[in-house]
Symmetry: C2
Subunit: 414 residues, 2 copies
């Protein structure tokens, strides 16, 4: 049994910040045993002094190959951006040996930023997808990686036939048994990218294997209109996933910026989880997702960096972005729409994804240890700060070299 | 004569990115001599290889004492935020020895982030204001610092009488002769903070000394209403500065989020410069300043971090924020409102303030050398990038330790 000593803070689902000043977080190879005021029976104690010990982050929507185009082309309209940057970048990942050093660097940068849990889109290439899973697992991350399915509306260089998509997805899934902590997730890119036949086949796989599913939903107006034209039988976008069996409590849907109340209620009823991607909401001027309204309705919401539509892997940035997007709605709708508190936005990036992982909440007994240690000793003060103030400042300040240590799945990763 | 060698890039007032690949920026102690393809007659050459050499940043609105509360209290309504954080923090700067190490740290952090030109609010304390000027000048920054005037609507701990304000402002101005690169700027906090008598006196000083002026204008609705009540004779907020002689081509006005077209036209006509503070626009949910519209009208616009209403000193963040605020307006108003390009937003943080400083545009002959060197060699690629792509990525990516060197006023500062 080991212990981390320091100021231990985490946020509960109701947005309450729980504070254990100068305490001991006990854990072993099976996870967290509790938070105590002593280190009785602990073999190894890491004493972090007056620093902050917080849950590490879960980034629940990002496109791994787009790591190479982070921050480029954001002046272009969405379609030009896809054609000029996204599709050519993803096409390069046909070569798994090209992919490996980039995915290794991505894993390191994620951990360096305090992210230890992920749900990722790979490219359509099954071999490079396995490389991505290997590199994520080797680095100590946990979560889900999906080979992308896209048998229509790609580009000449980035395309698979329906048969290729099915065959390669089969091979990919069969190769995933070797991974312990990185699991496969079915990943139809989004409705416009997948024929009905492919969607039907993926739905059947989902039924048989109970694999989780991730895709995009109602990101921008043009996309919603395209989906309407492709599926005139579906009055709403979400039904194009539901009718193929790709819509259940194991489903992650990114964005939902344009979702109507009917769609949000369908999301809630079926237990689908919305991945809010605030940075890309604005970078791609999709709109401002109505996260407060989703939470009020009881919809499950988690956070995603959505690189490279989002431009920061750092989840401190994405938490602050989520607050800003919610404040944008307050500006537009008036004070009746309460913006997200710092604590609520932090929860979206930490405990909110625990149920999707089938785990206890962060820092609760039985949860695996996923934590970061933050140093704020060098920041200037005019008074002694409360731990709540130090927590808020750590989120917004994102100071250089603040992250002293990162723990993922009961091991120190940095 | 010295030279910097590398890829030299800057943006012109029309938003064009000017690129000199693998070139030599010649300069001496009087400023820039030109950009050439050789280093003839240069004594010292710093070879930055394939790195990017860009103009450094001007942060044209920030509150130095609020550096100590950066990132705190942003869940509070404006008035509570002022009472709980801002006023108590500023009050601590009564003690110049308390102020000195904090202002020294601020100067270092500004330079570390590539900011070499500033226009700053101090607190109301004239001795600490002189300390602030000393520390900024010693670190190598150039620009303006103002002792704040506020003889009403402060707090018990942060208040000066009209007489004190006048006396201390006199003493402060008389002590400023010793500074070479940091100059005094008249700084009525904003109309609600200053009695008519004080405003009148400041206007008279402005007339006699030709000192520049900085203040706040039309930030949020409640403030605009307060000003209306205080000055029933003024139909618009800007007139409360104009009627006292605090409104001319040497005036910086922060925010202007709520400004009507009439106010914007008055700004244009009188040559006042708007300081756009995009991060604080959203953090304090003031609204989304209509920068595109201002530029279309011919209004001069520069950029400010507005710490601690803004939460980042780093101007890369504030440039990206400016783009996001302009995209927020595109989301709301539709594509007829063109968002700022990366180049346009970069110009706001660099060349846009040159005329206020009475200088040539950055990297033009005769301008003082203010530059940063950016390394992007470790970022992953799928193809060879153009210098324009590398420029855009450098802005959005803000990668750790990217800034290799900083030059201010013809000297290397980092």
């Amino acid at each position: 049994m080991n212990a981390l000593k320091g100021n231990i803070l985490y946020v509960e689902p109701n947005g309450d910040l729980i504070i254990h000043p100068n305490s001991f977080l006990h854990y072993d190879e099976n996870g967290i045993l509790g938070i105590f005021d002593n280190a009785l029976n602990c073999e190894e104690i890491e004493d972090w002094g007056n620093r902050l010990i917080l849950p590490s982050f879960a980034d629940m929507h990002l496109h791994a190959p787009q790591y190479t185009m982070l921050g480029m082309g954001l002046d272009l309209p969405l379609l030009d951006w896809l054609k000029t940057y996204t599709f050519p970048a993803e096409a390069r990942f046909k070569d798994p040996e090209f992919a490996r050093p980039i995915y290794r660097k991505l894993a390191l940068e994620l951990i360096g930023n305090g992210t230890t849990k992920i749900s990722m889109f790979s490219s359509l290439h099954f071999e490079s997808t396995l490389v991505l899973m290997e590199e994520m697992e080797k680095a100590g991350l946990v979560g889900f990686v999906g080979k992308v399915n896209m048998d229509r509306n790609g580009s000449e260089e980035l395309h698979e036939s329906t048969e290729e998509s099915i065959e390669n997805t089969k091979k990919w899934i069969l190769s995933c048994d070797k991974f312990k902590h990185i699991k496969p997730i079915l990943t139809p890119r989004f409705t416009p990218s997948c024929t009905d036949e492919l969607m039907g086949w993926l739905g059947e796989v989902a039924r048989q294997t109970k694999l989780p599913i991730q895709s995009h939903l109602s990101e921008n107006e043009a996309e919603v209109q395209t989906v309407k034209n492709l599926h005139p039988d579906c009055s709403q976008y979400w039904q194009t996933y539901q009718k193929y069996g790709l819509w259940n409590e194991r489903t992650l849907m990114a964005h939902c910026v344009q979702s109507s109340d009917d769609e949000l209620l369908a999301i809630k009823k079926s237990g689908v989880t919305v991945v809010h991607c605030p940075s890309s909401n604005i970078n791609l001027f999709s709109g401002f997702a109505q996260v407060r309204h989703m939470l009020d309705l009881g919809v499950k919401v988690v956070l995603g960096s959505d690189i490279a539509g989002g431009n920061h892997l750092c989840m401190f940035d994405n938490i602050a972005s989520a607050i800003r997007v919610s404040k944008a709605r307050t500006i537009i709708e008036g004070p009746k729409t309460q913006f997200l508190t710092t604590e609520e936005a932090f929860f979206l990036a930490t405990g909110a994804s625990s149920s999707f992982f089938g785990e206890e909440l962060p820092f609760h007994q039985g949860a695996p240890l996923h934590a970061i240690v933050l140093d704020d000793a060098l920041l200037p003060n005019t008074k002694e700060l409360s731990l709540k103030e130090r927590f808020q400042r750590a989120i917004y300040r994102r100071q250089k070299d603040a992250i002293m240590a990162v723990y993922g799945n009961n091991k120190r990763l940095k």
